[in-house]
């Protein structure tokens, strides 16, 4: 009995050490980044790892924004795209899911199988055709082709459908009809409020995914004033910031800051959402 207890204690010690190590491994790169963002290039060259901030934040900011990196432009563009894409994805996916759950129509099962089939197909593989198409209609350097495709988000529809199947009682829909509510009004005023929890979860994921995308914006946007945050970040890799270590770290920090804020406010819901999304039951 004693030996089992002893082995459990050793095991628990190992578990805690490993978990603390992994937690530090998650924080460490961002810590180094945040600290170096406030240190001068000279300081960074002396010691690249610091536990405490320096005093060169303003100076780094001046060097950073004195060149092509414009965090404000990137922030505004990314904000417009991510917000637009999130609204489109959440609203229209709810509508599509409602069509799949509330109505019986002949192509319903075929349509759902189709959504399942295209669930995993990434936008990246058709990137060349997409670019050529947008170039022809003059939509390169427009934010539209980065927002509108979100109306068809198979994974979000899938999630919304599972949620609706579990929560929607068709009696509500029927009684709304008796009260004379049209189908579209029923959806907007009765169904959408029911779907709020699912919409919130999907909104977070769509927003973050849209904020982080690089490939499609990179091929479509060539004008600096249209750049998104990830494209701005990629400028930091260029030669113009080669020796300005402090400002490179500052630029990286600025792009991550909004995500940290979102994450530490909503982490509980995000982690619950990851667990939910995967179950697909």
């Amino acid at each position: 009995m004693k030996s089992i207890k002893a082995s459990t204690i050793t095991m628990k010690t190992i578990i805690y050490i490993v978990c603390i190590f992994l937690s530090l491994l998650s924080i460490f790169p961002f810590w180094v980044m945040g600290m170096n963002a406030t240190r001068s290039t000279y300081q960074i060259q002396q010691t690249s790892v610091a536990l405490f901030p320096g005093k060169s934040l303003m100076n780094n900011w001046k060097i950073l924004t004195g060149k092509s990196f414009n965090p404000w432009v990137g922030f505004v563009n990314s904000m417009i795209i991510s917000t637009g894409a999130t609204i489109c994805a959440v609203y229209f996916s709810s509508l599509t899911a409602y069509a799949l759950v509330a109505y019986t129509w002949r192509l319903r099962n075929a349509f759902f199988s189709f959504i399942m089939a295209v669930l995993m197909i990434p936008a990246q593989v058709s990137g060349i055709g997409f670019y050529q198409f947008m170039y022809r209609i003059g939509w390169t350097n427009s934010l539209m082709p980065l927002i509108l495709p979100a109306i068809a988000s198979p994974a979000t529809v899938f999630f919304m459908r599972q949620y609706l199947m579990a929560t929607l009682s068709l009696d509500i829909v029927a009684s709304a009809r008796i009260d004379g509510s049209g189908e579209f009004r029923t959806f907007n005023q009765i169904i959408l409020p029911i779907m709020k929890p699912a919409m919130a979860t999907q909104a977070i994921f769509t927003f973050v995914a849209s904020w982080n995308t690089l490939f499609i914006p990179l091929i479509l946007l060539t004008r600096q004033e249209k750049y998104t945050m990830p494209i701005m970040v990629s400028l930091l890799r260029g030669d113009i910031y080669k020796t300005e270590y402090g400002s490179v770290y500052l630029g990286l920090t600025l792009t991550v800051l909004p995500l940290f804020v979102i994450y530490f406010i909503l982490s509980k819901y995000i982690i619950a959402g990851v667990a939910l999304g995967a179950l697909k039951e």
Partner: protein
Amino acid sequence: MVKKGVSYAKWGYIFSIPFVVTFIIFSLYPTLYTVVIGFTDLRGLGKTTFKVLSDPFANFKSILANVTFKQSLVNTAVIWVMNFIPQITLALLLTAWFTTRRFHVKAQGVFKVLIYMPNIITAATIAILFNALFGYPKGPVNDLLMRLGFLDAPSNFHLQKWTSKGVVAFIQFWMWYGNSMIVLIAGVLGIDVTLFEAAEIDGANASQIFFRVTLPRLKTIVLYVLITSMIGGLQMFDIPRLYNLGRPDNATLTSSVFIYNQAFSGSYLYNRASAASMIVFLIIVVLSVALFFIMRDKDAVKARKLERQIKRRGGVV
């Protein structure tokens, strides 16, 4: 007054229109367009007109014979394997630890939040951050290794092929093992508790319970993680492109970076890039079909079970 028997079926179609129209315009059409371009002579910045080649498969032939393309496929596979094996191993280990009641790990919530965190951070930022961390001659990693006595002089990591591959794989692993862990934990929580209780009463120890009871029931979810990770891995772009631009000597050139370089730099070979995209696309379709059947089978099995239950009940009544 609403008459009985009014058909609302048309609303199913009407509410599906936005999705279908958007899908056709922004997904289906570009995909078909990409397929067509693969058979043509379309190349050169700003060009949009094209004609089909006299040998329609010329682009595919030259891409399949292209040494760099083959290398990029091998790189993608190698980097993915280097990321996935430690990823699934660690995720399973953490799952076992967090769900075994005897260990009763406290502060699980905090650990999960921190372990999952890298997953939501912009991959482009992380790639450039790691490029700076592995800097030469002065960089945090060089600094640490020298302070700990592993290195006598700074090492130029960006010029080492396997170090670069390793770092790209590590970033991928580091960003995704938390996600896999949470998915797997959710899977374990979905297993009937009485199974664990029965095993415990029968005197099974923690590792026996994990390997004999938990793991067999996680098969579908492990497969799900495997296939989604493979599909994601095939598109690996941000990290290899921004960490070291596919260098050194194409060691971190993945198929997506190859396609991007073909189409959007040098001589803008849209046609070759399209042919390469379609080859990658084909691989993804095969994987998706596999995933589709795994997920569908499960539902079908459930439906059959339900049917049997209903029949049995019908028999009793």
